[in-house]
Symmetry: C2
Subunit: 319 residues, 2 copies
């Protein structure tokens, strides 16, 4: 199982988009910018900075353009914006965004609930966005939400998903994210779908985006690794959720993910101590507890001093 | 990875021992008995009922004998007691306990901190307990705590662990539990150790006992499954912890484990809905939140009704 894993794993941070979008309080623009600049120095592959959505739909990200204009973009990290439509794409082009993330749901009902569009309408729009950005050098990542289950429709067929990947590629999208928006993925399902996608498009850049809603986030990462996947989205502190999945506890936690990968001997290039520091800072920013566990328990390699009573037992010669 | 998994998995419940022992408030004896009787009907393989420790050391389990005498023992479930010494074994024999669980730590310092004995003293005692119980039909399970890491000493060598398993078997213990007492296991380490133990003792009954301290509990179960392990300890609601691992968030959660195994198509024989009901009840008993996540989010197969606004969009012919 662990003999043929990819040895170099890319970790993408989504906290300032997926995490902040559903917070009860608006996070000040300068705080967002400082956090993004601090994260960018830690070796993350991508940072999904914000979303160019309507300020009415997601008031917490109403400062998307200001944030993107203010961040320092001088690291190897790729700075991504989520873009829901052509207007959003136009704003991203103005700001010189390197990569945009386009999202639709595999299930019709979730796409209607989330995007107010049918899947066909979403695909049409992606084609128009591909035309708008042709020749600009902007990269287009296509996300398939509810790839592992929809709270209204249940589990989609693999055929349906592969058909939508085909549709993405026909419209000129460059890379793919399979997203478990509502935390419904199970490990064997993950391995099966990832194997199918990688078998059909071995050269396609593939990211997995898991939520830890039912405690399966890192088990699903393990299953994806076993299928050869080498790129994962995660959110600092595990902040995040989905308004259409009541009770959801958020994205997988970046520092818990990096901790697991590091302890498995895989290379991420990410500074775990730096992440833990920023996660501590994040708890202060949002002013509530975060689900991430390594911040609370410490990395496993960090041993503790012997309790005084044990030292005494040892000194007493009882060992 | 998932093609050669064991298809039938045995799940052991430890909440009334590992969970209750570190609760701030004493759980009344009748409440314990009712919970155990309710759990026993749900298809669990074993229930670790209590521990015959000193009432001074673990005041919350001071009613161990009353609990064991009062529970209904008429199901296929095996009712186990943890036994720290010969006095405890004598009490278990009086009560006709079918199986006792003997525990020592792989690391000297953790064994001193936890048991106030050296590892050699623990092993001597296990030999004496084996003599005491010979011919009584009582089964002896031997647990190796800190098998995947000690908070004071770090990771033990595989050689050390295999040597201690040898010592257990020489003293007549019947089955083995590898315990990740402080939640330090990582998936590749789990697979490697489980493979080594199963290769050397293919007929030995082997249980894995994980804590979810650093979020890796279910990923470690997956790794153990891949190594052929078919028996796991877990605690209802994820209640539990270890006084020597500050910040620890407890055992893996029984209902989250059964949910994962069920969704992977593996047979547990355990009634998930019944577990969820008892977990809800447990939250009321201990009067605080529990880490288990499936109770909050619902099983993944449980779809939700379409929101009214989506129904309207569909009726408007926009699909």
């Amino acid at each position: 199982m662990f003999t043929e894993l990819p040895q170099r794993i890319r970790v993408n941070e989504v906290v300032t988009r997926d995490g902040f979008q559903s917070e009860p309080e608006f996070v000040p623009t300068t705080t967002k910018v400082e956090l993004i600049n601090a994260l960018a120095g830690l070796g993350l592959n991508k940072i999904e900075v914000t979303s160019f959505v309507s300020p009415r739909a997601v008031p917490n990200l109403r400062d998307a353009a200001e944030v993107f204009a203010a961040i320092t973009r001088d690291t190897p990290t790729r700075y991504v914006a989520l873009v829901p439509n052509q207007q959003g794409c136009a704003r991203a082009l103005e700001l010189g965004v390197e990569e945009i993330n386009l999202v639709m749901s595999v299930s019709e009902s979730h796409n209607l609930a989330n995007m107010r569009m049918t899947c066909e309408q979403s695909l049409q729009q992606f084609g128009q966005i591909a035309d708008m950005t042709a020749g600009t050098g902007m990269r287009l990542n296509g996300s398939l939400a509810t790839s592992f289950g929809c709270p209204f429709e249940g589990q989609p067929t693999q055929e349906r998903i592969l058909g939508l990947v085909d549709a993405y590629l026909e419209r000129g999208l460059h890379s793919l994210t399979l997203a478990d928006t509502t935390g419904m993925a199970a490990p064997n399902q993950v391995q099966s779908l990832c194997q199918a996608v990688r078998a059909r498009w071995p050269e396609l850049e593939l990211t997995l985006h898991f939520h830890n809603t039912r405690g399966l986030g890192l088990a699903n990462v393990l299953a994806a690794l076993a299928a050869g996947v080498d790129q994962f989205d995660a959110s600092l502190g595990g902040l995040g959720g989905c308004p259409f999945a009541p009770g959801a506890t958020g994205n997988i936690c970046t520092e818990d993910l990096v901790h697991m990968l590091t302890e498995m001997g895989l290379q991420t290039g990410v500074d775990l101590d730096g992440l833990l520091l920023q996660s501590e800072r994040l708890a202060g920013i949002v002013n509530h507890d975060l689900p991430g566990q390594v911040r609370k328990a410490g990395p496993r390699r960090q041993t503790r001093p012997l309790p005084h009573s044990v030292k005494q037992l040892m000194q007493d010669g009882r060992t």
